[in-house]
Amino acid sequence: MKRRPEPLRVGPALAARSGAPRASGHGAHIELPRERTWLMHAAIAAVFIAIAGQTVRLAASGETETRLARAEPLHQTYIRPDIVDRRGNLLATDVDAASLFADPAMVRDADLTAEKLVALFPELDATELRRHLADSTRRFMWIKRGLTPIEAQRAHDLGIPGLGFRREPRRVYPTRYLTSHIIGHVDVDNRGISGIERHIDEIGETDAAAAPRRSQREPVRLSIDLGVQNAVADTLADAMKQYKAQGASGVILDAASGEIIASVSLPDQDPQKFSGADDDDRKDRVMAGVFELGSIAKTVTLGLALDDLGASLTRIYDTREPLRFGRYTIAEQYPPGRPLTLAEILVRSSNVGAGLIAMEAGVARQRAFLDRLGLLDTIRTEAGPVAKPLLPSHWGSLEGVTIAYGHGLAVAPLQFAAAAAGLVNGGIKVRPTMIRQEAVPSGEARVVSPATSAAIREALRQAVINQHGTGRRAELEGYEIGGKTGTAEQPGKGGYKEKTVISSFFAVLPASAPRYVLLLSLFEPQGTAETKGKITAGLNAAPMTARLIARIGPMLDLLPDRVAGAN
């Protein structure tokens, strides 16, 4: 079939191509400006060349570092520095562990996969797991994190498609039992959530990372001495058995720097059971509990008399008559039947004498003195906040008197030890710290005069070596121990319970030039044959302290005099 050009009706431009006669006038000679067309073509070519050039440039940029896609949950983990004790023993470190995840879109059979996984890890929730695995729009879900190598191998051997491993750092604690309450915990992303671990995060010593690696940072060096810590825990555990106590605690501070050399609370937390951390019986008594510590507080009262009232150790107080406040009577436990010197008030643990000092000072001065020592502050260490002191709701002269001999003001043992360290170390305030200090921190406030401090040390030493001293059973040949006992009846329903006490001993070592202060407590000890049925601190906490010092002295570079003298 032949086609013929049809007559054109669309317009002259098209008519031109038909060769219609009328178009011959100018239609056939229409010329468009060629230069402009060329210009446009050149522009198009330039654009294509630019794109090609940029493509090559990008490809050649060689920037091959693979950044993980953000739509996928980019797993951020944290690299932590090691934690070591003051001698460099490893307390915490990161190890490289496998974590199991699933890509639900790649899982063929969600039911079978869930079944096999639950068989391997019975703690997984089968229903939940199956539901998530069946959701094929998801591309990522954790199954279990921080697997042991054996678990990882078993999961691998299941041979299920859609499962994979990611390497993650996992925090391990080689000496978990001794230091768990200090070191604290990390969460699944290796971020510190309590204790020193949290402190490390707060001071910015961790590094965010996508994959496990060794931290390049210096280890965090604690003030704790693992050997001493172990000796304290051991001695306390023995004493708990010996005196049938419900609990025990012990803290040792460097008297000048405030470094916490050891801090033990028994019974301790089971480190495998993080959820049991709020178990009241197992809480850290050194820092997380506040207690009335009994007659140990007379050390502070002595300081008040010496420093604020200008008394000397030989000043006489008439302690023969009990103090009466309405229906309350404050009497001596061991009435000496004669007036006592200021030193004897401490040595013989005179309640009346302490009360007389408080009454002489008055509530305002007593309170100001305690405040100066830091006993009323809310303090914290790197391991976390220290329990806030519990003050009497009304602080009148009766309360002043009871506080003077150790009741009415409850503080954490650590806070008391730090305040007492300031009293005996020459009078410089001490801030307890968990981190090893290279030097004694300077610029701390003076709390009492050096003379007062020396007098307190002398009185404390007397309490141990005087034949009437309540702390005489803490005497240890070769060590110049000074100290004070405290037997605090525990508040219960309807008043104090006579048979439920905290027996404590505060020690300063050596008394003439203190390097360490110790505060050891037994909670609810019972009378034994050895203590003749008594539960006072002089009979249990004091000898326990002597036993401990005999053991840790050499570790603390304190040798018995006879050995040291032989050199």
Binding site: M1, K2, R3, P5, L8, V10, G11, P12, A13, L14, A16, R17, S18, G19, A20, P21, A23, H26, G27, A28, I30, E31, L32, P33, R34, R36, T37, L39, M40, H41, I44, A45, V47, F48, A50, I51, A52, Q54, T55, V56, L58, A59, A60, S61, G62, E63, T64, T66, R67, A69, R70, A71, E72, A105, S136, T137, R139
Partner: protein, 390 residues
Amino acid sequence: MRLARDDRSLVSEWWFSVDRALLIAVLALIGVGIVLSLAASPAVATRKGLPTFYFVERHLVFAMAGIVLMLLASLLDPRGVLTLAVVLLGVGLVLMVAAVLYGPEVNGARRWVRFGGFSLQPSELLKPAFAVVVAWLFAEERARPGISMVLIAVGLYIVAAGLLLRQPDVGQWMLLTLVFGALFFISGQPIAWALAFGGIGVGGVTAAYFAFPHVRGRVARFLDPASGDTFQTDRAIQSFAEGGFFGRGPGEGTIKSVLPDAHTDFIFAVVAEEYGAFACLLLIALFAFVVGRALMRYRHRRDPFTHLAVNGLALLIALQASINMAVNVGLVPAKGMTLPFISAGGSSMIAASLTVGMLLALVRRRADPRTIGRPRVGGSPLPPIGRNAR
């Protein structure tokens, strides 16, 4: 089927006059598009909770429909092309009004009309039709000075541009404006007018910058990446670096599982990551060949209408492809623009097919109007086979 040169049927005529190189290049593009659809879209479909091959199946269906439409359109003669363009323009304008009035709102714009289960973006169809009609109006102006076809063309532009901005669809509007401006320029309008039009264009872009917050945001992020989230373009650019020259290998890409528009606006980056820069260069070359072939074949020889229409249509393809790729390589701010024949999307595929179909029709070897009607002595009324008459 064998066709003889003396067979003057429609098919035979087409077969001997069509530009086979251009046809093959376009079919190659469509084929590449299908392959890349397999690479990019299953990941997107899975993420959207659709069947894995949802986009692939749709792409295949539209590719087949596109080929048929392209071949049908290429059968037309220039007058047929014009008729088709006029019809498409009318239908496109009506549907765009319908889209603005009744269309569903998607991402804050009304660009779509729905017929049962089928959605169409009429602005896609409008673009090639507009280019052809405007080309004819300018050509008429050249052929018959005095009748102000230019004014009609400007009026048409204002209507179409108004509708596009009403939707709003700033990308398509810019494309339309560039094509109109180029035709205006190369049709030989006074240079002062061309400059004036260029000024209006710049003013329009500036106005769009201030009128549409999302345009402003995109430009701001392009000029200062810190001012906002440039995740999509960052990630796209990064995939070029990661792919290197030879790519990470088919299926090894990651961008497709990350970017929501991996199968449409950012398919070029998927190609870069999985197949490498050489594959990208091949794709650029294929587009450049299609555009260049159409332009070279018809340079300045024919009547003004064909000349302008070919230039307009080729420019349309060139612009759309280059804007898309330029966004991918980070040369221009992010702009939702599909890559013709490659990106997923029915309207885009149909529109690209029609564009090329009309282009094929216009560049078919035909008798030069200036020789027809003036038969040479002893010469054939048809030009010699295998060469262009001159």
